[in-house]
């Protein structure tokens, strides 16, 4: 299926270019067109799920074309168990986000949908790039549409939030650029091959030392800001509160995952010694994030801020899982990335729905909604429970696996992290209780209308996956395990901790052989 990833990546931008030609007065046609393009992108991305070879740790659907031959940068894309689900999450959430804005965005609709579609290209590009140069291009390019989303269509304090978002991210990523150049020249100087190709660089064993530590820190800072890891999280509540609903869905659902994805794709395999050395620090920061995020969520009067801080807490779990470097923790972390995208995306979506009705997000302005809008209340309950990790729903699977992985590393750490699950139950259920239960205290809430067909249609797909992952997680975890095992083996063998069962170690060298697998396309398995 050559060209599939290219099609998934660039179809939204092509669509955006086509939409530029539509006159702006035809707002309905523009909305429909953008939704159709994003839906088509989702549909053509489905073979990534169905034709994905779950037994292979290699990159699949690879495409390779020289781009800057004199520099060793190429257009090299592919997916493996780490990225395939994230690509699907992106293509899945974009049409939902576009549909959520159907009535919420009136001003400059044309620019809005074009921005969203360009953003989708950037996001997919980040996840499929297997070349550091290409990755950086998408990583930086994606900032701009998000900046516009917050700055143009955001709330009252939108400009402050947008600028803060861009500057925070820029500072992190420019240092990463220097580290990218450093690894390029260090690898080139050591091997004679100057390349930005990620699989090639990942196979090379970088000598441990100050150089590796500094490069790791530069990458880690860029990703820590994006995750966001405590104490780099302060841009997130501002950005979330000011962003329009569609922006919040994308921001929470996909953008934050780029940080955790970066750790998996780059920090662990490229700088294993430094990553292991800094593991305890990451654990500490992640744990602080979990507890701190949960506590701050508890006292938020604003629904969006509450969900934003809950993201800090949930992403802390993901970081814990990744740095356990065992199969449970990593698979849990990866699946939790998907879960958080679905649950938090759904939470922002539903908060957006009541905001559209009441133009307030303050918890104190609600109460007793279950009598007025029962269908909304029921779906909101499912989403809330999924976010707090109720068994049977998706959140439980991820958190359970992560805690299992953490337990194998350090029991006390697991015990402390488990507190975060309890706090999550406290702030989420308390929020639900104050918003949905009780008596109607505000007369404005008496005449709210329940979910419209469009709102049903955008919420139900999310709820289906929330339940589906909860009862049958293997449908997703199976696609990640082979890659994760190979990754663990690779990190441990490179860092000199070779204490692995033979069966897993064998897989490590198979991880994308450059000349053969690098350019060939994996034949799809039915």
């Amino acid at each position: 299926m050559r060209g599939l990833l290219t099609a998934v990546t660039f179809l939204p931008t092509l669509g955006a270019i086509a939409l530029m030609l539509v006159p702006r007065t035809a707002a309905r046609a523009i909305r429909l067109g953008a939704f159709g393009i994003s839906l088509a992108t989702f549909l053509i991305s489905l073979p990534l799920y169905f034709a994905f070879d779950t037994d292979s740790a290699d990159y699949q659907f690879e495409e390779f074309a020289p781009w800057l031959p004199s520099l060793g940068a190429s257009y090299h894309v592919g997916v493996d168990g780490i990225s395939v689900l994230l690509v699907l999450l992106t293509t899945f959430l974009t049409p939902i986000a576009l549909a959520s804005a159907w009535t919420a965005i009136h001003d400059r609709t044309k620019e809005f949908v074009i921005t969203m579609l360009v953003l989708e290209t950037g996001m997919v590009g980040v996840f499929v790039s297997l070349d550091l140069f290409l990755f950086y291009v998408f990583w930086e390019a994606m900032l701009i549409p998000m900046y516009f989303l917050i700055g143009v269509w955001g709330g009252t304090n939108r400009i402050y939030a947008a600028v803060k978002f861009v500057l925070y991210t820029m500072v992190g990523s420019v240092l990463m650029l220097v580290a990218i150049l450093a690894i390029y020249y260090q690898h080139g100087g050591a091997t004679g091959t100057f390349t930005f190709d990620v699989p090639t660089l990942a196979r090379w064993v970088m000598p441990p030392g100050t150089g590796q530590t500094l490069m790791f820190l530069a990458f880690a800072l860029a990703f820590a800001i994006k995750v966001p890891l405590f104490p780099f999280h302060t841009w997130l509540p501002d950005a979330h509160v000011e962003a329009p609903t569609a922006g919040s869905i994308i921001l929470a659902g996909v953008l934050l995952k780029m940080g955790t994805y970066g750790y998996l794709r780059f920090c662990l395999p490229l700088f294993p010694d430094a990553a292991l050395a800094f593991g305890p620090l990451v654990f500490a920061l992640a744990l602080i994030g979990i507890i701190y995020g949960a506590w701050v969520s508890m006292v938020q009067p604003d629904l969006k801020k509450l969900v934003a801080y809950s993201s800090v807490s949930h992403l802390g779990f993901v970081m814990l899982g990744i740095f356990t470097l065992n199969i449970q923790g990593l698979v849990g972390g990866l699946i939790q990335m998907i879960n958080h995208g679905l649950s938090t995306g759904a939470l922002f979506l539903m908060v957006g729905m009541i905001y559209e009705r009441r133009h307030t997000r303050l918890i104190a302005d609600f109460g007793g909604l279950w009598k007025v809008i029962p269908a909304f209340s029921a779906l909101f309950l499912v989403v809330t429970l999924s976010s707090l990790g109720l068994p049977g729903l998706n959140g439980f699977v991820g958190e359970f696996l992560i805690l299992l992985g953490v337990f194998r590393v350090n029991r006390w750490l697991a015990a402390l992290a488990a507190l975060g699950v309890i706090f999550a139950a406290v702030y989420l259920l308390w929020m639900y209780q104050r918003v949905i239960f009780g008596e109607i205290r505000h007369p404005e809430n008496e005449r709210l209308h329940d979910l419209t067909p469009r709102e049903w249609a955008v919420t139900i797909p999310l709820v289906i996956f929330i339940v589906f992952i909860g009862v049958y997680p293997a449908a997703f975890t199976a696609r990640t395990e082979a890659t994760i095992e190979a990754l663990i083996a690779q990190v441990q063998s490179k860092a000199g901790v070779a204490t692995l069962p033979a069966s897993r170690a064998e897989r490590a060298p198979a991880r994308s052989n450059p000349e053969t697998a690098g350019r060939a396309v994996t034949v799809a398995r039915p």
């Binding site: 004199s70 400059r108 291009v137 390019a141 500072v171 420019v174 650029l177 220097v178 020249y185």
Partner: protein, 483 residues
């Protein structure tokens, strides 16, 4: 007996074409008035295009020398001929309606622009300090007058006066430096100077002379601490002239600087590398930090251009073929981006004059979406956001720095680009995220101006998405320097 000089004008052909066009424009102006002077712009454009073509035809044709090695026409000089002619041609396009609207259309403008351009081209072909001086004076004297073209504006007179006084001061430094270098080496020719100092311990007289020459050239590229003139001149000069000062004149001086320091002074490299390091860091940091506080778009771009000079000096510090090629590529990218940015300003106006305050651009995204989109792309290219030309330029520059071990210099440079994002994005904030208060800039339709914008936009997209051929071009341009 002195043999009669062999005059071979061949290597000077592109320069002669530009110069002769300038004289032709002056002559044509003497013809009985025909109403509009628009045809003079067309003639100038024609001359520049012919010069550009002649340079393109000459590309790869090996090296030619003239006037006893004083002038050298190789791929390197041709690269700069092309960049300078391209920039000048785009600026002529921008000037057409702009000057007419400002009521300043005159033959002198185009003639001076062409003379200035020929001075710049001469600089890029200089192989002797005397020619460097000649080129700088030809370029600068024309620019001093051009800067004060809007003589009814007080800022214009201030700009012209300031530029002139500080400029001649810098020229004096340059001349004194040349004299000292001549004293130290017995020659003003780049090659002969190099062989005179090669293999010897550094001589105080030589270093002093080199320092003075650096001051003179540093002034012309407005590197900190020789930048004081730039904001006032950028503000007071007609915007089209500002674009010329910001792009082509800097490219030309960089051409001489690179040929001098990277190619010919390699034997004494460490002595000037440290000085350039300091200049680079100062220029980047001061330029960007002061730009944060500007609300006048032209002043902001003046400080931003100081910062960009700092980035290019990073390439000079790095030295070697890669550093030089990176600077050349950056100059090309910077030329398209900056001409485009100033181009947008020439196309906007208020009833009281030019729209130069950042507040004038409030709501531009709603009123003129295409113009706002163009300005956004130019500004993002200046920030260095991929996939635009500015990003690739920075990538090569900082890559060269990392390769040569100047990692911390690269770190300072990238942090500076993050600072710069703030003030460039502020303009975008005004265009898209603020509603206008009071009178705002309105777009003046102009075919020639829009054409210049479209060419510049195509340039930054092409250089950003498909930089390979241009990188090869820059590399083959610096190849003759480093044999």
């Amino acid at each position: 007996m002195i043999p009669p000089p062999v005059v071979s004008l061949g290597p000077l052909l592109p320069i002669i074409i530009v110069c002769a066009t300038g004289m032709l424009v002056l002559l044509l102006d003497l013809l009985p008035a025909r109403g509009s002077k628009a045809y003079l712009a067309t003639v100038s454009l024609g001359g520049l295009v012919v010069a550009l073509m002649s340079a393109l035809f000459r590309w790869g044709g090996g090296e030619a020398r003239a006037f006893r090695d004083m002038i050298i026409l190789d791929n390197y000089a041709l690269f700069f001929h092309i960049v300078i002619c391209y920039a000048a041609a785009l600026i002529v396009l921008l000037s057409m309606d702009y000057l007419e609207r400002q009521g300043a259309e005159s033959a002198e403008y185009y003639a001076l622009l062409l003379f200035s351009t020929s001075g710049m081209m001469l600089l890029s072909a200089a192989n002797d300090l005397i020619i460097v001086f000649l080129g700088i004076e030809l370029m600068s004297l024309s620019l001093y007058v051009l800067a004060g073209l809007f003589k009814w504006r007080p800022q214009a007179s201030e700009a012209s006066m300031k530029y002139f006084l500080l400029g001649v001061f810098a020229s004096a430094f340059l001349l004194y430096g040349i004299a000292l270098l001549y004293g130290a080496t017995g020659s003003t020719n780049f090659g002969r100077m190099t062989s005179a100092v090669a293999g010897k311990p550094a001589d105080t007289l030589f270093l002093l002379g080199l320092g003075f020459v650096m001051v003179g050239l540093g002034f012309k590229i407005s590197a900190v601490p020789f930048h004081m003139w730039a904001p006032d001149v950028y503000e007071g000069a007609p915007t089209s002239v500002t674009a010329l000062i910001a792009t082509a004149s800097k490219a030309a001086v960089f051409a001489a600087l690179i040929r001098l320091v990277i190619a010919d002074l390699r034997p004494v490299q460490p002595d000037w590398t440290n000085a350039l390091w300091v200049l680079a860091v100062l220029s980047m940091t001061v330029g960007n930090v002061v730009a944060l506080a500007q609300t006048n778009l032209k002043r902001m771009l003046a400080y931003s251009s100081i910062a960009h000079v700092g980035y290019m000096l990073v390439g000079l510090v790095t030295g070697g073929a890669q550093g030089a090629a990176a600077v050349l590529f950056y100059l090309l990218a910077y030329m398209f981006t900056t001409v485009g940015t100033f181009g947008v300003i020439t196309l906007c106006e208020r009833s009281t004059g030019e729209a130069v305050d950042v507040g004038d651009y409030a709501g531009l995204g709603r009123r003129h979406p295409m113009l706002a989109l163009a300005l956004t792309l130019f500004l993002l290219s200046l920030v260095g956001i991929p996939p635009l030309a500015g990003f690739v330029g920075k990538f090569y520059l900082f890559g060269a720095a990392v390769k040569s071990g100047y990692v911390w210099l690269a770190v300072i440079a990238v942090l500076n680009s993050a600072i710069a994002a703030y003030y460039y994005l502020r303009v975008i904030i005004y265009m898209y995220m603020r509603e206008p208060e009071g009178e705002v800039a309105s777009y003046v339709p102009s075919f020639a101006g829009s054409l210049a914008l479209v060419i510049s936009l195509a340039g930054i997209l092409l250089l950003g998405l498909q930089p390979s051929p241009f990188v090869d071009l820059a590399q083959s341009a610096v190849a003759p320097l480093l044999r």
